[in-house]
């Protein structure tokens, strides 16, 4: 099973002829991901690492029946790329691009929502269902197939925790970063819902950080989940009013502190690890039961 992507995922890479697009296409292909087409306007007929390039997503979908897209286009063109993918019939979009204007992100959010399309990101590391498919920029070798789902607002921190799990012999069903921006296509609840339904997933790790109230809302959802959830929240030491890298990682008007998030999660029975290592250990303990 796994969620969102699996061996049936056939992806288009939007912005395939750019440096990032080309580099990561090669990495995704070498992991075994089915990258069936690339899109760069004006570059139809080219090939990138053996993948045919089209002028439009519509053309790419018509030729290849792609059902997913990974977006690497520059921030100024990212919203247009998402709209194009949706209208071409793509059902899963992973938007890697960072630095997208937030008013564009609002439009992206409602466009995919209107069309029942899944958008992961923007400003995210992507998604991997180990041994099945990888859409994004993660280091795939650190993951191992298994029964733990990971959903995270952070990239590197996700790798760290997945790495810790893998070292303990605990594999993952699907691992994904939902993105560090304030407005993202899928939030914790969207993903938790899927993990809850996924037969391969027995436990979920939620990696949050300061800013917003997404973790607090997730806690409300977790209350009714049947599967155990283990948490981690970054940013205990972050001062209010300062962005910690991610546009979304900011404590504003007293909202979104790590303390409030940890409290909300604890209240619904989520054990929150103090360190990435402790998270892996809690998972191990819980799975043993």
């Amino acid at each position: 099973m796994a969620i969102i992507i699996d061996e049936n995922t056939k992806a288009v890479v939007q912005g395939i002829t750019g440096y990032q697009g080309s580099f990561h296409t090669e990495r995704m292909l070498s992991y075994g991901t089915k990258i069936v087409a690339g899109v760069t306007p004006g570059k139809a007929g080219m090939e990138v690492h053996g993948v045919p390039v089209f002028n439009t997503v519509r053309d790419a979908v018509e030729e290849t029946n792609a059902n997913a897209s990974v977006i690497f286009v520059p921030a100024a063109f990212a919203a247009d790329a998402v709209f194009e993918a949706v209208d071409a019939g793509i059902k899963t979009i992973v938007c890697i691009t960072e630095g997208i204007p937030v008013h564009d992100e609002l439009k992206m959010y409602w466009k995919v929502k209107d069309s029942n399309v899944t958008l992961i990101g923007p400003n995210c590391p992507g998604i991997i269902s180990p041994n099945k498919s990888h859409l994004g920029i993660m280091p795939p070798q650190i993951f191992m197939e298994g029964n733990v789902g990971i959903v995270s607002r952070s990239g590197t921190l996700t790798y760290q925790i997945a790495y810790n799990l893998t070292k303990l012999g605990i594999g993952q069903s699907t691992v994904l970063g939902i993105g560090g921006d304030r407005i993202i296509g899928s939030d914790f609840i969207d993903i938790l819902e899927r993990f809850e339904k996924d037969k391969e997933t027995d436990l979920v790790v939620l990696i949050g950080e300061i800013g917003g109230t997404d973790e607090e809302k997730a806690a409300e959802f977790i209350k009714d989940m049947s599967k155990p959830v283990v948490g981690y929240i970054a940013g205990i030491t972050a001062p209010p009013g300062k962005r910690m890298g991610h546009a979304g990682a900011i404590i504003e008007g007293g909202m979104g502190t790590a303390e409030s998030k940890i409290k909300a999660l604890n209240e619904v029975g989520v054990e929150v690890g103090k360190t990435p290592m402790e998270v892996a250990e809690i998972v191990k303990k819980k799975l043993k039961r």
């Binding site: 937030v102 008013h103 590391p125 650190i142 990239g155 760290q160 030491t237 962005r243």
Partner: protein
Amino acid sequence: MKLHEYQAKQIFAQNGIKIPKGKLAKSVEEVEAIVREFGKAVLKSQVLVGGRGKAGGIKLVNSVDEAVEKAKELFGKEIKGHLVEKIYVEEQLDIDREMYVGFTLDRANKGIAAIVSSIGGMNIEEIAAKHPDKIARKTINPKWGLWDYQIRELLYESNMPKEYFKEVFGIIKKLYNVMIKYEAELTEINPLVVTKDGEVIAADARLNIDDNALYRHKDLAELKDYTEIDQLERIAEQKGLNYVKLDGNIGVIANGAGMSMATMDLIYLEGGKPANFLDIGGGASAELVKEAMSIILQDKNVKVIFINIFGGITRCDQVAEGLIKALSEMKVGIPIVLRLAGTNEEEGRKMIEEFLKQTKEEIVLVETMEEGAKKAVELAR
């Protein structure tokens, strides 16, 4: 990017919102000349921080002499860590009533939050807490924008007195246009003043523009006041590094925002205090690592540096190379705790081990980030 009050007001005026008569002064002499023209005036320190008034940054002056005296007090004064270098001199308003109109990004509902209150002057959280019947809030969906019925609902729900309906209706509409046109994250009029003559006028103005959208608003980007940003943070920004100065003594370098925060948190859990947040991002070059080192070393409080890298796209050998370059080109003189994991970990560690044979600088290689934090806190004592 935050605009100063005087800049935001100029934009409001261009978009049809009434503002008081005012002029910017950069010296006591300029203040004097303006107050000579205006008669009575308000001197408003232009610092990018909330609560200027309570912090003594706003002064009513009723004569030129008083203006000169107060201007001397204000210039060079520090308000919540911000130095006063500009004073906006405004006419005094004969205030009959204060109200509030604001728009801000609504993360939870994926839209624009519209907030209207029939009272104002204090901050909006305070109004919400003390006078919930005088405040109305609504999410505007970006698909459809702001419609008249929503403005009416805001007016009715905030118990806005009928006599101000028409004026405030127009101001809400115009302020929303400012929010959209300039791609703001927040814009606010607080207080929106009704004068004794019945004029409705923006007595204060806030306008924060989305940094990611500045490329579409070149004219606004030019207004950026770099004097308002910490010098080190400014330099870091220009180098493409995310750096936030904090007041601890353990310098932190990590890749990824979450990872950087987690590293800071680990230091705190071990009883130490991080000196900064510094994210070198994904796929950092050796050069960028060197720049990161150089920025941290300019913070004289730093007693030890903890470099915590989990290599995904970032290659550990690149990080090692950058670190070696930095140590070769500048005198560091404080211990470095280094944790390298992931892509090309072996190569990176070997490079460092080789380098350690020929340098006097102290580099402690650790296996995990938890161990690294512990070590860094020890060394900082």
